[in-house]
Amino acid sequence: MKKSVLFLMSILGLVVVWSACSRDRIEEDLNEFESPNTYLDSKKQDEQVFVIDSAGTGPIIGNQGTAIWGGIDCLRLPNGDTIDYPFVVKLVELYSAKDMIYYQMPTVGQGSALESAGEIRLRAEKDGQLLSLAEPCAFKVSMPNLTPQQNYMSVFYGNESVSPVDWRTDLSYWGITALQSGVFDVDTIGYTAYIEKLGWINADRSISSSTTRTFTFDSDVDDLTNVAIFVYLPGSHTVLQAEDAVVTGIPNGVDAKVIAIAVNGSGTLFHFYDEIIANSNQTIMVEMSSITDANLTNILDSL
């Protein structure tokens, strides 16, 4: 009995130490990068500002065609007070994969990949104070789309208390009682819905897949700590972003495009691009190579 216990303890000990092996003595120096956030921020969509100084019929129309209808009566200061003119409406439009990547706004809702028809951030301010919608008010938004489908996309709201923003449909999470349908209708612009909370809005649909895949990114030559890695699924216009060099929840069998972006200490831009079919869990070996801003932009435009 004593020998058996010793033997089992030995095995356990070996398993523990086995998990802590190091190749430090023979590893080559890895290429190191700095955070790409400054570069990505310099490329992201500007927030459009609309000064509303009097009543009108609307809508407010963004650069990419987003239309917004709303009234001053619905807006409240943080202390609950109503407001007077003027106030400002701020809008960010992210419809292309490129813009979602620059803004680092993946389309993932509570761990599940989402099919997306676009993301917007709609905010209102009065004298620098962020406004909210009074219940039971709603703003109408229409998001441009060439081939919208009836009863297909749902209204997802962005939870900004986590990073990256997490998408969810349940307004009760914020203590709001939902009175609108929560499903996008179709109009002449594209998808239209009444939203009951300002902030990030996404026209999304959960991708049904009983099996999902994981991509793990590794490199023999590059330190991936400060590399922004994205997986784009063109079939569903889904953007996924790696956390700790791992992307999970990729629906089985879909075509995936991998794009990694980094900037070194000298400000040189680096990238890695690959196209993969997600038919298994995979370890993808990354080797970053330098690229011009114009060429990287072309790659992102062609996703």
């Binding site: 020998k3 033997f7 130490v17 092996c21 430090d24 023979i26 590893e27 080559e28």
Partner: protein
């Protein structure tokens, strides 16, 4: 050629054995799983018929390997299980390490001389000349290596009387 000579020497050494012996000599081939390096080793096993054994040993990872080094140290081996000609044991080892090509390494804090500690387990089998296999984990460098070798015993107290064929 050099490796062949070492193996031949160990084989001949192993041919001088006795069930009564308490001292054994052995040699082994080594492979470090993390540094992907190949080496050779030699050892003396005191109390070789006892369950607790004392094993001074020497290892040398060859110059063509990624890590070229030698280590001299002492192991304590504790037999855990024994079944017929098979035996399993755990071991601890403390050693002085001389890392010859440490300057080639990018590892922070790499230095030529190091003190190492190892934990491991092994199995041996056979009569007379025994085969052994060991897995050992180097706590200092966080590396594991494998050893595969032969051990042969020499009759205790009769080495002067019996002349071993290996030295003829």
């Amino acid at each position: 050629m050099y490796r062949f000579q070492v193996l031949l020497f160990l084989f001949l050494l192993g041919s001088c054995n006795s069930a009564e012996a308490q001292i054994s000599f052995g040699g082994s081939g080594l492979y470090n799983l993390q540094t992907e390096s190949v080496g050779v080793g030699a050892r003396v096993v005191f109390r070789s018929e006892k369950s607790l054994q004392v094993v001074p040993q020497f290892s040398y990872f060859l110059p063509f390997s990624k890590v070229n080094e030698w280590t001299v140290g002492l192991s304590i081996q504790q037999r855990i299980l024994k079944y017929r000609n098979f035996g399993f044991y755990g071991l601890t080892h403390a050693g002085y390490n001389h890392w010859i090509n440490f300057q080639d390494s990018k590892m922070k804090g790499a230095q030529q001389t190091n003190w190492n500690a190892e934990l491991g387990a092994g199995a041996q089998w056979g009569r007379g000349v025994k085969f052994f296999a060991e897995w050992r984990y180097n706590v200092h460098f966080q590396e594991a290596h494998l050893q595969l070798g032969l051990i042969g015993a020499v009759k205790n107290g009769q080495r002067k009387k019996e002349k071993c064929a290996a030295y003829n």
